[in-house]
């Protein structure tokens, strides 16, 4: 933990920025963009494209539900100290907002949203989480994977509004990943591109 101390200053500044930015921005804008749009279902009326989009959304929803559960495990581990704990809870809130939006959109498209598993069913590697850094590294891995998953999904949606929403979530996950890397004393933005 000592090695992480210098990075906490920037970490805290980022937290302040995120708090001021407001975590409801994404959900409000995205829900207005997607879940409330009656035209979405009509635009997506063509069977194969609609089925494919629902499938991609449901895959993303399952991953978001797992992220929510993972952050819950981290928050309840007793290993996270403030302000890291507050940030983890905030990030969990973002993932809940993503999951809510995805579930609503699946319904709008006439699909059936996947349901979250019980925490035990995720079989998180709890035995390997012994320090705050372990929890942060675990969370960073999930966020990195989420960035790549959304990046891989963006070009596949038949409906470009869904691509836009996925890109919006991707940006949020990338911020999470960068801040977690910063907290771990790693270069928060190691490359010009994500992959």
């Amino acid at each position: 933990m000592e090695a992480m101390q210098p990075s906490f200053r920037l970490f805290s500044a980022r937290r302040l920025f995120l708090t001021r930015s407001g975590q409801t921005v994404l959900s409000a804008a995205a829900v207005a963009l997607l879940a409330g749009r009656e035209s979405l279902a009509a635009e997506q009326g063509k069977g194969a494209a609609k089925t494919s989009d629902v499938s991609i959304l449901n895959t993303a929803l399952g991953a978001e539900q797992e992220a929510v559960a993972a952050y819950q495990v981290g928050a309840e581990s007793g290993l996270l100290q403030k302000p890291v704990l507050d940030l983890a809870v905030q990030f969990q809130g973002h993932h809940k907002a993503h999951a809510d939006l995805l579930a609503k959109t699946v319904k709008t498209l006439g699909g059936e949203p996947v349901q979250p598993k019980r925490t035990a069913e995720y079989r998180f590697p709890i035995e390997k989480l012994k320090t705050q850094a372990d929890v942060l590294r675990f969370a960073a891995g999930l966020e990195q994977g989420a960035v790549s998953a959304y990046l891989g999904a963006v070009p596949l949606f038949a409906n470009r509004d869904l691509s836009k929403a996925a890109a919006s979530i991707l940006g949020d996950e990338a911020m999470h990943w960068a801040i977690l890397r910063q907290a771990l004393g790693e270069n928060p933005v190691p490359d010009a591109f994500v992959s």
Binding site: S55, T59, G62, R123, G141, G145
Partner: protein, 132 residues
């Protein structure tokens, strides 16, 4: 003129130039680089546990869609029923474009277009996914 024709005939008989032949060879994968690329898979996959996607332990040589208890898409199950097995070739084609190789897969991912990156990732999966 005749000399040129003879030369052309010899080139055709000799087959493609070495450079072209080398370009057609699949790249050799590096598991260390592949481990870094595997970070892209971590939203949905793990070596030792099923998540949104199935575990990768024992992947090489496994029949497609055959991890016990995992809820596959009908498309993935069907691919397995035809006898498809995950090996370097099938993985390479799947990773390049999952939805094109197995239409209907739930892996909504555009794919890894770089052949070297795919080779590196497969090399890592062979190593890390080996059943111990």
């Amino acid at each position: 003129m005749q000399k040129r024709l003879v030369a052309a005939a010899w080139l055709i008989a000799a087959g493609p130039p070495l450079a072209l032949a080398a370009a057609a060879d699949p790249p050799r994968g590096d598991p260390a680089r592949g481990e870094a690329i595997y970070g892209r898979c971590l939203a949905c996959h793990s070596i030792d546990r099923d998540r949104t996607g199935p575990r990768h332990e024992g992947l090489i040589g496994r029949r497609v869609g055959s991890v016990p208890g995992f809820q596959y898409s009908p498309a993935m199950r069907k691919a397995g029923e035809t006898g498809m097995v995950w090996d370097e070739g099938t993985l390479d084609r799947f990773l390049e474009s999952p939805t094109r190789f197995i239409p209907g897969t739930r892996m909504g991912y555009a794919g890894i277009k770089d052949a070297q990156e795919r080779a590196d990732l497969i090399a890592f999966l062979k190593k890390a996914g080996a059943v111990r």
